[in-house]
Symmetry: C5
Subunit: 351 residues, 5 copies
Amino acid sequence: MKKHYSKKAGLAPGTIVHVGEARTERPKITLINYDRNNYEERVVEDIETCFLCKDSSSVTWINIDGVHQVDIVEKIGTHCGLHPLVMEDIVHTDQRPKMEEFESYIYLVLKMLQFDDATAAVTTEQVSIILGPSFILSFQEDEGDTFEPVRERLRNSKGRIRSVGPSYLAYALMDSIVDNYFIVLEKIGEFLELLEEDMIENPTPEILEDIHGIKKEIIYLRRSVWPLREVISRLERSESPLIEKVTMEFLKDLYDHTIRIIETAETYRDITSGIMDVYLSSVSNKMNEVMKTLTIIATIFIPLTFIAGVYGMNFEHMPELGWKWGYPAAWIAMLLVSVSMLMYFRRKKWL
Amino acid sequence: MKKHYSKKAGLAPGTIVHVGEARTERPKITLINYDRNNYEERVVEDIETCFLCKDSSSVTWINIDGVHQVDIVEKIGTHCGLHPLVMEDIVHTDQRPKMEEFESYIYLVLKMLQFDDATAAVTTEQVSIILGPSFILSFQEDEGDTFEPVRERLRNSKGRIRSVGPSYLAYALMDSIVDNYFIVLEKIGEFLELLEEDMIENPTPEILEDIHGIKKEIIYLRRSVWPLREVISRLERSESPLIEKVTMEFLKDLYDHTIRIIETAETYRDITSGIMDVYLSSVSNKMNEVMKTLTIIATIFIPLTFIAGVYGMNFEHMPELGWKWGYPAAWIAMLLVSVSMLMYFRRKKWL
Amino acid sequence: MKKHYSKKAGLAPGTIVHVGEARTERPKITLINYDRNNYEERVVEDIETCFLCKDSSSVTWINIDGVHQVDIVEKIGTHCGLHPLVMEDIVHTDQRPKMEEFESYIYLVLKMLQFDDATAAVTTEQVSIILGPSFILSFQEDEGDTFEPVRERLRNSKGRIRSVGPSYLAYALMDSIVDNYFIVLEKIGEFLELLEEDMIENPTPEILEDIHGIKKEIIYLRRSVWPLREVISRLERSESPLIEKVTMEFLKDLYDHTIRIIETAETYRDITSGIMDVYLSSVSNKMNEVMKTLTIIATIFIPLTFIAGVYGMNFEHMPELGWKWGYPAAWIAMLLVSVSMLMYFRRKKWL
Amino acid sequence: MKKHYSKKAGLAPGTIVHVGEARTERPKITLINYDRNNYEERVVEDIETCFLCKDSSSVTWINIDGVHQVDIVEKIGTHCGLHPLVMEDIVHTDQRPKMEEFESYIYLVLKMLQFDDATAAVTTEQVSIILGPSFILSFQEDEGDTFEPVRERLRNSKGRIRSVGPSYLAYALMDSIVDNYFIVLEKIGEFLELLEEDMIENPTPEILEDIHGIKKEIIYLRRSVWPLREVISRLERSESPLIEKVTMEFLKDLYDHTIRIIETAETYRDITSGIMDVYLSSVSNKMNEVMKTLTIIATIFIPLTFIAGVYGMNFEHMPELGWKWGYPAAWIAMLLVSVSMLMYFRRKKWL
Amino acid sequence: MKKHYSKKAGLAPGTIVHVGEARTERPKITLINYDRNNYEERVVEDIETCFLCKDSSSVTWINIDGVHQVDIVEKIGTHCGLHPLVMEDIVHTDQRPKMEEFESYIYLVLKMLQFDDATAAVTTEQVSIILGPSFILSFQEDEGDTFEPVRERLRNSKGRIRSVGPSYLAYALMDSIVDNYFIVLEKIGEFLELLEEDMIENPTPEILEDIHGIKKEIIYLRRSVWPLREVISRLERSESPLIEKVTMEFLKDLYDHTIRIIETAETYRDITSGIMDVYLSSVSNKMNEVMKTLTIIATIFIPLTFIAGVYGMNFEHMPELGWKWGYPAAWIAMLLVSVSMLMYFRRKKWL
């Protein structure tokens, strides 16, 4: 939950300060340059190397893994004419997904999600995409990403992705992020199913923590997913010349996907609170069973012990003690008491 | 809950991959061809056979049961000029109900529901309908369907269904699906009533699972039903020439039906949470009764046992033990204690 | 909850099938004919008798109690030119309140409510009203109705109701139905007050069922009342020449009434869940009291019984047993233990 | 909750029948007449006396305390040309706050609230205000009111209130009612704070009733306050010539006040349910403590009593009984058992 | 919660009365005067000193700490031509955040928040900002503020803040207030994390109070934050010439920040109720454990004690007592009973 806001408080707006965790040691810059016929991909050391490509007739995609070295972001940002507030947001990794339209570029913020099976936690990574007239800039916090299939398609295919412009590439990147949400949701769904089975069989206090944990993860997940809907719907309705017509139809499909993701997240939230309710009831039921056991044992033996106690008294004048059949009679009395108690419990359906 | 999203992640959009379970072995293709005077129905082996009929002046309805063999969908889709994203959605059986308007056809996705009495589970089947200028394509996941009455009406009647065009047939198909929702809701309603009776009589932990189960089914049901409202309202407001004027009025009626279904689903949801509350209270009440029994027995006998214990002590100098009426006096004391306890409980209304 | 939907599934739309319970043996047809100066009222045997009156210059009101004999509805409907879907809805008694505007008539569905004091249940009866240019058709499920005061006013007064046209009569009928809602709500309010008193005094499990029952009734009530708001607001905004200007102002007043009814229903819902919460707490409080009693008795006597047990042991070498003051000393020890326990409980505020 | 709706059911709309409680014996009519220079105030016996003043060039304010004598309302209403439905609503004291615009006057209904400290109940009084071109009519149910400060300002000041027209007076009256809401809310806030303190210290069942009671009061309060927002916003947006321009700005301020009142009421509602939750938890915590006490005492003494019981047996061959150190050894065994139990409880943090 | 509304009730609108607590002894007036080249800052004793500066070509910022001395507010307000209702609101410290546009100035109300770590309470301070054509007035309740970084930037930088006009300064002030919200939220987040850890380890009743307390703080926080969204969005959409174009883009950024703050507040509210649920379950779990311990001990020893009691009876004819192996046999019986009980508990998974 810690976001180190204090680091930023009081600074002038537009000051470029990295907020978040540095997840890589050194930012890695990948430069991809392609048109219908050619494809070039290389890792560059120096951000200045990319400057040349940006304005070529081919499409240039510069991907930067790691935003903690703010000077790199500042250099490429300044070169591409980004607004200082945009640069500030790129390195401030606590943005909500958003879309901002400027005259010569569109700025997109999305969240890349990963579900960690071991801890049942969702980790979030901020991805910023700048869609320019002939280039795409993408900024990630960490190296591992969901863009690999896109790169693979760029390398191999000569199809749509190579022939349309940068807006289709931007769509493809967003699509790969959103596709990954389905996988995260699938894993959460499996986790919930496991939880459900465990819970009914054996509602231990550990399950309580698991339910609370997954509930929180779903709350955070919703925060990443809800604004996405607006982002894509605004892209779709945008009249920016940066978005080619052919991309539009695919954006509609992407919008559909986000709706489905939101609905699934809402469903999981409902199911989680259902599980919580069942857990609480299971605990009550367990308690009930424990109490019944105690009550049955206690109410049977307490009267018996009383009878035994009576004939353990030391009064000199206790006629029963002298009777020949006194002892068996006491046993019979005790048997009668316990049998009638058992019958009472059976009638109450406690046995 | 499993949806095998991972199968699709990373593929180019428009790639036609079946997502879901193959429910039939071989897709079954039924071709119906009719106009005001003629009616022809046959099962065809090969999808190409249907190509001839599509453009005849009569209405052609091609129904395909089973979408897991993607090549069939691809062939007929390409022949009818469907958008690749539409074909992708037809074989991806996790769509939400939706309506997409294209220039030469309308694409509809609906969910066919079945309530399984044995498991109290709702099973969902995706139905895709393509409404073209003189043809209807319908895709189902499985063979059994709710379209039989529509076919029956086509075969027998010479009425409206035979004289209006394909838009009325599309309406009739949707109407048969929606009509079936009422039956599913009716069954859920009966299940809830049984649950309610059981619960008050005997709130066992099994009922808890039943409540949780039906709650989840209603959550899933709502996901199928809510978007339907928008689908039909958009159809109604559509200005597509594909929808004849006479169909419009019937769509208004269908819209009414969906509203009623949504309201009933909401009512059931409210009632289910009401049942959950009552269940929890019943468990508490049961616990209360158990505790009362224990408390009454224990508080009556514990003092008595104490009295018996006192006169079981072995002190040499215990004057009471030598008294002639000591033993009866002890009994009287014990009786007094128990009677006063019983009176106290009666005053508290515990008996 | 049973609605016999299955009866209708698969039939062609516009098929006139009675859905619901037949509440009367034979439909009763009442024909009223009036203008500023004349008033005629009679029960007719045959629906055809009414055909003559319909187009006279006076206002004709045909009221039919019982819709299970579909041929009557069909005859009068066909004579008045009603749409088949309207006739279908009249005999299908599970409509939601709605208003449908046709060229030559307006079709209104409302729900007449009755609160049964004995079972605390709300019974619903569907009322369909057809407002034509010079006639009103009204269809009820049962004979007893809330229209009697309207008839009384028609018979006696020469005021507004006799001088304005059929739209004012339609308003008067709706007003009498809505007025009756207030009475139903008043009775529910009284029931809730009784429940509240009972509950705090003596939270028995029967009250739980009562709360759950009234909660369900309020849920069903809301379903009848909420759509009414839209019905009347649409009537008010309608530009149909069938609605005279003088009626309009009265519709505004009626709209006000429905808002008040909706608000009261919402309030009752909130109060009911408040009562449920208090009930649950009362049960917990009762349990607490039971447990306290047990705990006080048990914790006082268990140590005492132990002391008595110790001196009931049969060791040969137990010096205390031979002491002269051993027995009184044991009593004093026991007294001290019990007094200190009582003081502990008093300090904890359990006594 | 009783509203005597039954009194009205079946009457023709526009019938003037008093609904509610008669709170004064005889209605009191106060006539105030003022302009920039003159001020006249008197109590009149007969409503006809007021007729003369109504059309003078000065502003006339007729205040009537008590609406149960319907003839007074009818006389003045007819004289001022009020619609019959307006007169009906004035004497029907169960209106929701509303604003109705007529050609020559505006009709306003508001609720005057009083918080009764003794019973922690909010009492409601209906106030109807008629804003005419040169007069104000105000109807209250009871004599005591919140208008006294307005009268005081009229009497003393020569400022805005005397120089602007009747719309400003209407505003001043509404403002005095709304100002009073703040006082009611403040008292509810204090009551909630007391409740909170009590609850954590000593959660008695009486507090439960208090929470439920105040919750209900807040529900009723909301019903008076929510519609107010719309009333004032509609007044503000009204283009009626009856509302002077200078009044408009003050209405905006009043609107602000109602928003604040609504927000405070919502906050109180949230806090009340928070208190309910804490109450329930406190009850559980108390129970826990009771159970712990019982468990500790019982689990310590039950084994000890068993040991004492063993050596109280009367077998002839029990070697321990003859041992010299048998008795002290038994004590040591009992001490060991109780010490180990205590250590176990300490480890569990129950002590 | 106390707001002393009673102080104001009945006064004429526009009467300037301080509502709230006087937090400083004497209001402190700071006058800052700057343009691109010059900067002057001083504390003035007399508000009249500021009058000269207001209309200079440079930007004048008059900051007043303490609004309880109403004459100061009145003097400067009158000098700047503020509406009486604005002056009333400045000294009435219970406003909701709002924005009011007048012809020659914009009036803004915001809330400055501080989180007190010791009491886990959020304290609120009202800040009023008047944005005029060449001046800014700011009113605070107390001396310590979050404006210091803005002053620092004014003093040092020659950048944007010195070259743009008063609208940018107003933005900078609002930004510093909103930035501070992030810090408050961060602290609440940390508090919630601590609470969560504590709760699972040891759910004491104190934690209950903490949860309730923080829940209330979040409720109050939301009241300060929600209206902010509208304030800034209205500023953004305002067409007032007072707001320079360059400021507009920064306001969009500020709007983004408020959305994020609102979302975080909502998340915290959800998490708090999650924590409450877990707390309740933990209490139940603890109770369960206590009850299990009692039940195990009691159900093992009660039968044993009964057996011991039987052979403590004093019947003359009890053959077992005379048996040589009677005593060991009793022990064996008792061992068998306890072992079988333990096995039963293990099978139930209670051990």
